[in-house]
Symmetry: D2
Subunit: 339 residues, 4 copies
């Protein structure tokens, strides 16, 4: 059956697979101290044009989020959209490390400086947590992206209140290849204190590349990785994958494929007069359908019901690095049939 369910349904990109095959029999030291990891680190440093960042490769997104946020002191809290992954979909992983997630109303699944400032102003003394980190995802959980202006404004508010800005880049590839994007990795590194480049959802079997720019967050980060069970014994698997993804822009081409496929679906929806629930230009599309239509579609295509409404359901269609144009065409025909 056709599937537009998510962007982690397939294995990895062919080039990544080949690199894993080629290096499989080699012996390397463990825990990310091997040469492949070193090379991947250098590639990332070069892409962000910053020799001084610290780079670490972890396995998955929730793991990365909780490890990064565990750099906070016990009484420090992280501000997130109510729609943020750490607030909703991580089974309390952040709280399990002891930190409060201060959730504020989203604006197209994004955080605004105004919302952050309101949090700061209402947290005034030792009876309340100390807001210290701002968590954003780009692209967001609803596929929207931050513009350079928006990110600069967030940076400004973080500077004003001495907050760390942390970008969850589980879907950063798709964000960067969006037609509306005006951010580069160099910008993101400059404007964030820490962020990561997601591999799991864009061509790797698994893996997230954490980039730490702020010196306050660097010391002993590897201890946190290990303590949180996030240090892969065969660390070179991460190095090999990220080296392959990043060295010839493969990462970006894969994200482009996901976006192109999503855009084909968008065009068809547009043609059919269906508006996006939360308009985006990345690899996730949200539309509101009647329960009846959704139900019929489910019989021919795999996708997710995202949000139940009184008069219907918001469904999500997701494309990936591995989505085939033919499948998209087939899907658009099914859409035509029911919409």
């Amino acid at each position: 059956m056709l599937s537009f369910k998510n962007d982690y349904s397939e294995g990895c990109a062919n080039e990544v697979l080949e690199a894993l095959i080629k290096t499989n029999d080699l012996k390397t030291v463990g825990y990310g101290e091997d040469e492949y990891t070193k090379q991947a680190e250098n590639l990332v440093k070069s892409l962000v044009a910053d020799e001084n960042v610290d780079i670490y490769f972890l396995v998955g997104g929730t793991q990365t989020n909780l490890t990064v946020i565990s750099t906070l002191k016990p009484y420090e809290a992280v501000i997130s959209c109510d729609t943020g992954h750490i607030n909703v979909h991580e089974t309390g992983a952040i709280e399990a490390t002891g930190h409060k997630v201060i959730a504020v109303k989203n604006n197209n699944a994004k955080l605004t400086p105004e919302a952050i400032e309101a949090v700061i102003k209402s947290h005034t003394d030792y009876h309340m947590v100390l807001p210290k980190m701002v968590y954003i995802s780009n692209s967001t959980e609803y596929g929207t992206i931050y513009t350079k202006k928006e990110l600069e404004d967030l940076r400004a508010i973080c500077d004003k209140y001495n907050l760390y800005l942390f970008m969850d880049g589980a879907r950063l590839g798709s964000a960067l290849m969006s037609k509306d994007n005006d951010l580069t990795l160099i910008d993101i590194n400059r404007l964030c204190d820490v962020f990561y480049i997601g591999g799991t959802k864009n061509g790797a079997l698994f893996g997230e590349a954490v980039v730490i720019r702020n010196n306050e967050l660097k010391p002993y980060f590897k201890y946190l990785i290990k303590q949180n069970g996030a240090l892969l014994a065969k660390g070179r698997l991460l190095g090999v994958q990220f080296y392959t993804l990043l060295k010839d822009n493969l990462y970006f081409r894969l994200a482009q494929n996901a976006n192109d496929c999503a855009n084909l679906i968008r065009e068809k929806l547009n043609e059919l007069g269906i508006k996006e629930y939360m308009p985006s230009t990345t690899n996730q599309i949200f539309v509101k359908l009647s329960n009846e239509v959704a139900s019929k579609l489910h019989q021919e295509v795999l996708f997710e019901d995202f949000l139940g409404l009184d008069d219907g359901v918001v469904v999500r269609f997701v494309t990936s690095f591995a989505t085939k144009k033919d499948d998209v065409v087939a899907f658009t025909k099914i859409l035509e049939k029911y919409l």
Copy 2:
């Protein structure tokens, strides 16, 4: 200066002080295993008409909240009003024990079955925390109280979804003596899985009496108390105080004094045409003032600015077990002057 700032400004009721003086030189075993504590436990059991409850005496409210909530499993979460003490004013104490506080919009500072049900329905799988406990405070952080009907409805929804109902009774005395109250300690024990009778804000130097009815929450609770640094070495201090407060209804008379004083202030505000911001019948009064008026009042009376608004400020006047009628009269005259 007159003070209506809070209900923990004074020491303890005279009777409590006398009991502490009388027993000061006696030698007892520590950690709540003494005779006074035993007697206080028996009094509580008799007041809730339930021999099977487990009773523990702790020092303060935040400490009690975090200890009770630490009975949850790591992935279990507690539902609270956005205005709930555990959500706002405990410096992330609950999260520090590893648990997410799921905050929902309050209705007069109270939780509704509808809000709880909405949380349950949106928490559907292992990517999200498991809502397991419902936290309410009575009287609430805004002085409102739960009726028997409301508490029964919360019990029903908790039964439906297998949730624990936990009542923070830091201000339970004032709630029970409210003219609108129709709940008894027997009702509360029947309808809640665990609750506490607050001493700190009603006649004790310090102390909260936890009543555990649900057998699932009983085992090894004293280990949790000790682990959380909440086990008082000279435990008899708690026993002596609660025995004194509860044996001849002193606890209730003290709460009545706080309510009576608050009601005198209410009457005056009413007379002056000032509406309560969130109408209540307990020892806390919230009114919206212009910044100018608030500022003038501050020069003659101690009280708290509770909530900044665009066009003024919500201030809080609090009475206590120790508030003197004369002071209330003096205060009403000041109110007359400025309102």
Copy 3:
């Protein structure tokens, strides 16, 4: 350079790699709900001859240990050898989940019923943690193994004191294929409450298969996996690997290779009159060398200095599923040269 440094230097077994290649382009649902994972679960159930166990596949050992131990209540503690991985080499991961590791003196890197009983007897009230789980590793951190008799004795003491018995099987393959082993997976499942079959160190790229027999430990375990960042998005990678490893006894043949290679080294050491520091029959060999000899060996072979002594150093030689006999022969010649 020759390497006998550890058993996670190489990628995975060829058969595993082929299975990953073959399934790479397939679309599956995520988070371990796919068919491959289901098949691997069934294989494990069949190997332990128990339909009622719950099976989960996690990525790494520390992650698995902390997730399993997080089933404990906050005041419950885990008993381990002082040499246990959780006590020494996990950067406080267990304590970070809130639990004390009660470390007792090891007996050939193993726990004895006597040591456990001594812990129980000295933990008598609520001022101390409640010992609730026993952690053992098989093979141990020093390559030794538990006999059936020893495991039965541990079971008996756990039954006597109502303790969970948890076996860390990161190197279970090597233990089971040891010439001195008399345990089967069926025995282990019967005698332990929870254990895992390690893939990372025996033929998989990564992966540990957790087997939960005790019903008390089963509920909501997947919530704990997710909360601890241990739920792999592309869960089928674990299913595919374990299915391949377990379906035709590949897992055991790979472990046999590691043991065979180690035994060749053992024979040579024996021939040379060098005694093992802690005699074992698995894939790890510990010998005490003079600093001079160790230093020379380091110039030709990669291996680890394990323990500094006043008059020398205990070094560790490790073989793996991928160790080649030719390399072993080459190594024995180097040993001959220096020992």
Copy 4:
């Protein structure tokens, strides 16, 4: 019945009680921001001859220990004697805040620089916790005390390895008044990064005065107090007590009484030819008795069996600020009868 069971059996010193009575009806601001607390802070600053320390008053010892240790980062650990209170008698409170207690063999219940250095040398990389704090108690759990030379040596090793030195002073009064003591509060403040002056076991109803000298440990400490449920609403109760205890050396006179009483018992034991199990000069005495003798003594005096041995039992006799000489005399007569 006579009791030499512990030093928290009685209430508080008369002078403290009188101060509490005198201030009972006053209204003060809460949470330690009152004038009495300010005065007590100033007294402590003056006693340690250091204006720059931060002073906080908490309720109990375990609470204070866990709050101080929660200043560490997640991967940092605290080194303690195996006999240390935090290692044995706090129900895993330190681990519950996420930190490993690295327990090393005690030397007369004390830590040595050699033991600390051994820990440092065996903790070499990110697979292990980072030892960062040294926990000592003075007097120790066995009544022994640190000399100035010993404390200076600990300071030196802490300086060498960048460790915080934390002294648990639950029984500091008795230590300072010991005939063998050569330390002053000024020395202790100079040599420790943080320590506390115990009130609970020396004349207060409850209370421990934390003195933070190291600037790294100062920021936001009050947030940690609140988060750990350790912030007393009526904070002035602590201020009043410590002001009274410290202003005219009452604290030291009370400790002297405890020591004097203990010394009378020591003399008698000496006369009777009974050696102390771990010789001390403070308010705790440990002697080994046959089970038969211990059993007879228990019929006439309350005291604690501390440590079961194969051929008898180590019992503990404790005196306090409130112990009466007559009771000691009566006790020595009973001792004469049985020893």
